[in-house]
């Protein structure tokens, strides 16, 4: 076997449970090509220095070479539905006014007044024009300068370009992205193959049904990595093992900017030998937080039907009712598995027909020891009806639990379990005598992939 595929899931060193690809063989509906992709080139097994998460120096390098170069998700299109609506996107010490300037047109302005530098907009909202609160210099929403009081005192500005400086803007799937780099690669190239893989999930047509944010006392990468492997399910979320194929997850990397994990659901963990189909069915409905219903009451499985099939069919029926569209073409996998993509560097999106989770991890201002964790839930709405308003962001206090946010339902308690590790990892890394972390070859390969991609930017 070549070194390159040494640890591929289908190689010799894999868990004993059924592989995801073998589960796909059991589908009765044609399996789309993107699910059949199985790509995990060997990236090495070396330890990784904790400096990457805990050192100021590394944070400064990211500030200088990573964030100014990458495409970053700022908000949803439906967050700013009308011309003149804007969202203030902040990353480390930069601030951008992401503005809707036309029906399908967005611009990103540097949020700094060209007079004496005050930020031009303090918060999200709507404006017919941007009036600086300090002395009243004004721009239209396209960034054209409209004047400043006491014009007689500013004739020296007449020659100058007084339009608001802009960053690059692009959209995909209803998300608005910006890039500070004039010479960046086009967004479409950067995203590839995400749009193709999401072609069955028209995210631009979904709406944001929930948005919860909280500060977490760890580096933004520690936060992101908490959602990049299913290996931790065994110890961190043991109550979901009756319906989660944790160790038979598949992990893929696609180029520098995209990776994914697929964790089969509706089957018990290979770590748990004696689970009945009825237990799997009951627990997935009640505990996963992602199924069409969160109660198992009244659900009886007909003889001979597996929990995986029963739950997929339940989801198919209920989801298609909600969205007013047939889901006959959907595989069981797409109806229930945890198929989670990561878009470099800090955005993660689940596939799914209703209730797609999105995570984002941003550095908390200029602090490398804390981050802002956000989760959104994208929902569909009945075809032909008006798109519901996007949910207001619920900002939890640092001492609040995620389970205090009712809008994320069963995910709250799961996040609380993840949360119990995040700050603790940061603390432990700082205390580490070893000074490095070790990664599982396969199950934690996406974390290595993230760091190798970061290095490509830092060393460019």
């Amino acid at each position: 076997m070549s070194e390159l595929i040494k640890v591929k899931q289908q190689g010799e060193e894999r868990c004993e449970g059924i592989s995801y690809q073998n589960l796909l063989d059991e589908e009765t509906i044609e399996v789309p090509a993107y699910l059949r992709e199985d790509t995990n080139p060997y990236m090495g097994d070396e330890d990784i220095s904790v400096d990457r998460w805990i050192s100021r120096d590394f944070h400064d390098k990211e500030k200088e070479k990573l964030w100014p170069k990458v495409w970053q998700m700022t908000c949803r299109e439906e967050d700013i539905p009308e011309v003149g609506d804007h969202h203030i996107y902040e990353i480390i010490d930069q601030s951008i006014i992401v503005t809707r300037t036309g029906e399908n047109e967005f611009k990103g302005f540097i949020n700094s007044c060209l007079h004496r530098g005050r930020i031009l907009r303090d918060c999200d909202g709507h404006a017919d024009e941007f009036v600086c609160p300090f002395h009243g210099a004004t721009w239209d929403i396209n960034g054209e300068f409209k004047g400043i009081p006491c014009k007689w005192d500013f004739s020296h500005l007449d020659e100058k370009d007084m339009s608001l400086p802009q960053v690059k803007v692009g959209t995909w799937g209803g998300f608005i992205f910006i890039n500070f780099d004039e010479n960046c690669i086009p967004l479409d190239d950067y995203l590839s193959p995400l749009p193709e893989h999401f072609s069955r999930f028209p995210l631009h047509d979904y709406y944001k049904g929930a948005h919860v944010q909280r500060e977490v006392q760890c580096n933004w990468k520690v936060g992101a990595e908490a959602f990049m492997e299913s290996f931790h399910t065994l110890e961190t979320h043991s109550e979901i093992l009756t319906f989660t194929g944790d160790a038979n997850s598949q992990y893929d990397t696609f180029g520098d900017h995209v990776s994914r994990s697929v964790t089969p659901m509706g089957i018990p963990s290979p770590h748990l030998p004696h689970v009945t189909e009825a237990e799997t069915m009951r627990d997935i409905l009640e505990l996963s937080g992602r199924m069409a219903t969160d109660s198992a009451e009244g659900h009886e499985m007909p003889e001979g039907i597996t929990a995986r099939t029963y739950v997929a069919e339940t989801n198919r029926e209920m989801f298609s009712e909600i969205i007013g569209e047939s889901l006959d073409h959907a595989t069981k996998s797409e109806l229930e598995d945890a198929i989670l993509y990561m878009l470099f560097p800090n955005t993660q999106v689940w596939t799914g027909y209703h209730g797609n989770i999105v995570y984002r991890f941003l550095p908390n201002g200029d602090d490398h020891n804390s981050c802002i964790f956000e989760t959104m839930i994208l929902l569909r709405y009945e075809k032909g009806t008006k798109r519901p308003d996007s949910a207001e962001k619920n900002i939890l206090r640092p001492d609040q639990a995620f389970s205090e946010a009712p809008e994320i339902g069963g995910l709250g308690p799961v996040f609380d379990q993840d949360d119990s590790n995040m700050a603790a990892v940061q603390k432990g890394m700082i205390a580490s005598r070893k000074g490095a972390v070790s990664l599982a070859s396969y199950q934690e390969s996406r974390i290595r992939h993230l760091h190798q991609s970061i290095d490509k930017y830092l060393n460019a």
Partner: protein
């Protein structure tokens, strides 16, 4: 002392995310509707006293048209750095005759 102003306007005259300015006992008050509920606030931004009549309502927040401070219509609390002074809010309800009913104190 509590003053009540009945028969303000018919509740059906105002739709979601709309504002209507009314004068009650010499006070300029803004009636708002958001997510199906009615709210009444002083029609004057606590930052620089701009009128709020043309402000946008989104998700229970009213944005000042001048510099954009957003006020939570439920509590009057502002978001952002421009002001920390809450907007005064008044209880408003739909009376039996279908008109909005306001309480000033």
């Amino acid at each position: 002392m509590t003053t009540t102003a009945d028969s303000l306007i018919p509740a059906t005259d105002i739709t979601d995310n709309q504002t209507v300015a009314v004068t009650v006992e010499g006070k300029n008050i803004l009636i708002c509707k958001a997510n199906g509920d009615y709210y009444a606030v002083d029609n004057q931004c606590t930052h620089q006293r701009a009128e709020l009549t043309n402000g946008r309502i989104r998700n229970c927040y009213l944005a000042c048209p001048l510099h954009g401070v957003r006020f939570d219509l439920r509590t009057g609390m502002p978001k952002g750095e421009l002001t920390r002074v809450p907007l005064k809010t008044y209880p408003v309800s739909v009376a039996e005759d279908g008109n909005l009913h306001l309480e000033l104190d």
